[in-house]
């Protein structure tokens, strides 16, 4: 089995609550979990900075999609914040140059929709860890997309 890594979409997807604790983190199984937990955690600082910045400078409504948060030598980290301060973080491989901005935006839109559906479940309390199988399916579809 050759490492067809470039065809995968995301290597890590995380959902973070408004109090900045993780609600959901999913990584592709071959990678080291902890490394990604760390990457996501450090990206939160950049997210906070971006949210605070726009509030002070312009009167424009801040866009939900934050774009590239920061690149490391192996990975690129993208962020998205809802108006309820729920943050979505997606980590992709730097070598995956085929991924365009639009595709990342689509991923976040799907994540946001999946999160909205999840919150409409009367048995889910916002702030709980996410255990919904439906949500997991959406995330998994995003992570392992072999073309």
């Amino acid at each position: 089995m050759t490492g067809q890594r470039s065809s995968k979409m995301a290597v890590c997807v995380a959902v973070i609550s408004k109090e900045n604790y993780p609600l959901y983190i999913q990584t592709i199984p071959t990678e080291d979990d902890l490394k990604f937990h760390y990457t996501v955690h450090t990206s939160l600082d950049v997210v906070e900075e971006k949210i605070n910045n726009v509030g002070k400078t312009t009167n424009d409504l801040r866009e939900l999609y934050l774009g590239l948060l920061y690149p490391t030598e192996d990975y690129k980290v993208y962020g998205y914040v809802t108006n309820t301060k729920i943050k979505f973080v997606v980590v992709v491989e730097s070598s995956n140059t085929a991924l365009r901005d639009n595709e990342i935006r689509t991923m976040f839109r799907k994540l946001h929709n999946a999160y909205t559906d999840l919150v409409c479940n009367p048995f889910y309390t916002p702030g709980d860890r996410i255990t919904s199988r439906v949500f997991e399916k959406v995330v998994n579809a995003m992570m392992l997309q072999d073309s």
């Binding site: 559906d117 999840l118 409409c120 479940n121 009367p122 048995f123 889910y124 919904s132 199988r133 439906v134």
Partner: protein, 180 residues
């Protein structure tokens, strides 16, 4: 400007999502209050019954269907007119018993259960049990005693939701005491 006779034919529109969320909040609260799934099922059935006995009046006023001649007609009216009017869906009538006194309603997309996922530990919960009570209550008001059970439930992993209605007996109007 004339007042519309009766209630008019158009139902006021309410957001379907608000309805789903309201029902969901109701069930979630019942679970918190009663803790046991069986108890919650019973309460949902009771509430459904209370809704059913009142809903039938609204239904008969708005739909102007006449008296049904047999149980088959009743089944069709329930599926095609009743469900359509109140929930906007048309379940399929199927699985008639050979004696013609039992049938199933196959509900494909139940608006009550949109977005809902049953948590582990509540496998006995009949989330849509209110519907059962509504059917029981409304049919009782037209002199039919029926027994309603859920054969399949999409929330519990089955492919669809199947509601079984069994005709028990025709109810004779009870005369008030002292009259002939």
């Amino acid at each position: 400007m004339s007042r519309q006779a009766g209630r008019g034919t158009e139902a006021k529109k309410v957001s379907a999502e608000l309805f789903t969320l309201t029902y969901g909040a109701l069930v979630a609260q019942l679970i918190k209050d009663y803790e046991s799934d069986e108890e919650v099922n019973k309460q949902l059935d009771k509430m459904g019954y209370n809704i059913g006995v009142r809903l039938i009046e609204d239904f008969l006023a708005r739909s102007s269907v006449g008296r049904c001649h047999d149980f088959r007609e009743t089944a069709d009216v329930i599926a095609k007119v009743g469900f359509k009017m109140f929930l906007g869906i048309t379940p399929t009538v199927a699985n008639w018993s050979p004696s013609g006194d039992e049938f199933s309603l196959i509900v494909d997309n139940n608006p009550l259960t949109e977005f809902v996922e049953l948590p582990d530990g509540h496998q006995n919960l009949n989330y849509s049990n209110l519907l059962g009570g509504v059917l029981r209550g409304s049919l009782e008001m037209v002199q039919m005693e029926v027994d309603v059970t859920f054969l399949q439930d999409a929330l519990k992993g089955d492919s669809t939701t199947e509601i079984r209605l069994k005709f028990i007996r025709r109810l004779e109007d009870a005369l008030p005491a002292g009259e002939e």
